[in-house]
Symmetry: C2
Subunit: 414 residues, 2 copies
């Protein structure tokens, strides 16, 4: 099925910047998709460090189990990352694990590195074991054909797509101790997207020199406010993987402490990049017609605010109302009420598009639906909720629930 | 919007039995719906007892707050119940509470009873205060026009509908100490349906003589296995109300102890009736084309099994796959994995329509999709999951997620 381009796709492709110490190559293996790249190899300069955040699903796929273990046993050292789009290789028992091992062994030989310096990610149908022998023949060609160019990054973003209607990539540059470092990332995902993580793959590389512990901290913090703050359909994938790789090729003193002032600008750039990639995923939410940002304030704490925000963001009735451009704010109140978090019904306030709709537990006295209805006609919807009990706040993003979601998921085996 | 009849509607209307001590009348107030009954009054013989289970939403509607308080302060004594379909009167502040009080006061005068013997329920749009003055003129006519006939019950089931495509009602008869007693119930609900409770109203009356404490116990137990085991869209209404009324007109010794052997057959009949009504709600799930029953076994305990079942039942990807008659069992595994409950990936088993699909953490060796695909073409889908860690089990029901759901909820302000 060829899906039409999401109406929320960015109008211009992001300008991608190569990352010193990172090379990429893609191939069209025809494993599931025909006539397009579906296999990605990334390799990293010796000494590169990686940190990863993976799905919390109890039925995580074999590549996730492998990568988690490889990072742990190898102390974060990374030589190569291989990604296939077509089969998730999840819930595939020993055969799935064997396939992952076969790929890692072959790549370790090619890259002349220990097997636990190979990371893997797969995305696609759950329950079908990966047939490694169909991918192994492509490895040497991939290794030979690598490049560090912007075009190679662009092709990599293409290669990891499944139901995505556009490739997702972004870059940033920032200075560390007077040296310019680059961050470039790619992501995929459009359905089975819910926090912890979104159903998605994302790989971000930088040439900055960052010690493993700090790299993990920065990634966790950034993920929390980006990929863990988005939802398309409340479903959590078995394959979610977010990996941050630092090649260390940049010529600056290594960063190791979170409170080092030199970390600040890098942290900001990383967080911006992660949020940009995460929002690209929401913009490509299956069938999405509108991007919805939900701000929650006045909750008992930030975690409570997050749960209230996600309760609204995951409500099918809220999402369908927005699909219909209907300013049905009562459904927002319903979704707050079912979140199970403290909320003071008589102090609650709701605004849509910056216009107060309800205050002190009821509709505002002079409520005029016209400007709210006008906002609802747009592509980007802003909802703000104050639940009136404390200082906790959060911001989450989702998309509307449309006929397109049904079309894609009732017919496409993803 | 006139919705087409659900394809899952029962082919024959249930034969309803009048309940001694219970009279009903309906009226077309035109409050929101035109040309159909939308207002229901039920009155009960002096000495009738009621038990209620209400939404756990923190933004519960004014009628729910009233009824909960009335039952508590009146020790379960009930004289009348008034229901309007059109506005939920939820999140309406003091004006909503005033409207409820005005209706209760007027009915208490008509029925010559204390105000806390009046229960109320409302369903419809959230956020719009009830205009009591538009309903008050109908009360004396309703009180004068009551009857205890089967037709009055049938009309009552019609009067409480909103987006329901068919009226929901059922009866049972059972003996207590040699005396035949009757149970008849009506229900409404089709969207905003999730446990605790489903978004729905249900009223069940019996002429059995049952002490208040036992009545509450029996209702809670029965609700747990029926209305709290169904979900349409994971959204929890602000108005959910399930009320069981016992008029005590039947000529048998009062039941007061849960372990009295005479309670057994009544409990069974009540549980069956509640489940029948709950499944009618799922059969009328907005846009539903298929009824889905999910059995979970092998969980840590029954509560864990319930949560796993609901994680599957609420998964948009599972529900859309079933809408597309796609035997995409990997999505079932995904939904188990995200439930957050203990599951042994390597011992998990899944069957669809009684046919084993996965066993010991992977697809069965000789998997033949054909018979599973044939089952998926049907109207009633059976999913059984064993998560391999304990003895906990549960059974839950839902419906598929179709274009019809989007049609109804993107356009209809409910």
């Amino acid at each position: 099925m060829q899906l039409p381009l999401s109406p929320l796709a960015p109008s211009d492709a992001a300008k991608l910047l190569p990352v010193p110490g990172v090379r990429l190559a893609s191939a069209a293996s025809g494993y599931r998709y025909k006539g397009r790249p579906d296999l990605l190899l990334m390799t990293f300069e010796a000494g590169s460090q990686a940190a990863g955040v993976f799905t919390r699903s109890l039925t995580a796929g074999a590549p996730v189990l492998w990568s988690r273990e490889a990072l742990a046993s190898g102390g974060g050292a990374i030589s190569a990352l291989i990604v296939n789009a077509g089969t998730a290789n999840a819930f595939t028992g020993q055969r799935g694990a064997d396939a992952v091992l076969a790929l890692s062994a072959a790549l370790a030989e090619l890259c002349e590195c220990p097997k636990n310096q190979i990371l893997q990610a797969s995305t696609g149908v759950i329950g079908e074991p990966l047939e490694a022998e169909r991918l192994l023949p492509y490895l040497s060609g991939l290794a030979a054909g690598q490049s560090h160019t912007a075009q190679a990054w662009q092709m990599a973003a293409e290669a990891i797509r499944t139901t995505d209607t556009f490739p997702k990539a972004a870059s940033r540059q920032v200075e560390i101790a007077g040296t310019t470092v680059t961050l470039t990332g790619i992501a995929k995902g459009s359905g089975m997207i819910a926090p912890d993580l979104a159903t998605m793959l994302a790989f971000v590389a930088t040439d900055a020199k960052i010690e493993p512990a700090l790299l993990s901290t920065l990634l966790s913090e950034g993920c929390d406010q980006s990929f863990n703050a988005i939802t398309v359909d409340s479903d959590t994938s078995t394959s979610d993987s977010l990996v941050l790789i630092a090649s260390g090729m940049a010529d600056h003193p290594p960063l190791s402490k979170a409170d080092d002032p030199e970390v600040g600008p890098f942290r900001t750039a990383l967080n911006e990049l992660l949020l940009e990639l995460a929002l690209l995923v929401v913009r490509d939410g299956e069938g999405a017609e509108k991007l919805i940002a939900i701000s929650v304030a006045g909750a008992a704490d930030n975690a409570a605010a997050r749960r209230i925000g996600l309760s609204v963001a995951n409500s099918p009735l809220v999402k369908t109302a927005i699909a219909g451009s209907d300013a049905n704010w009562g459904r927002i109140v319903m979704a707050v009420g079912k979140a199970g978090e403290a909320a003071d019904r008589d102090r609650m306030a709701v605004s849509i598009g910056g216009i107060a709709v309800a205050r002190d537990g009821e509709r505002v006295a002079d409520y005029d639906e016209a400007p709210v209805a006008a906002h609802m006609q747009g592509r980007e919807i802003e909802i703000a909720i104050d639940v009136g009990v404390g200082e906790g706040q959060a911001r989450v993003w989702t998309c509307d629930l449309t006929h397109g979601y049904i079309d894609i998921n009732a017919d496409y085996r993803s």
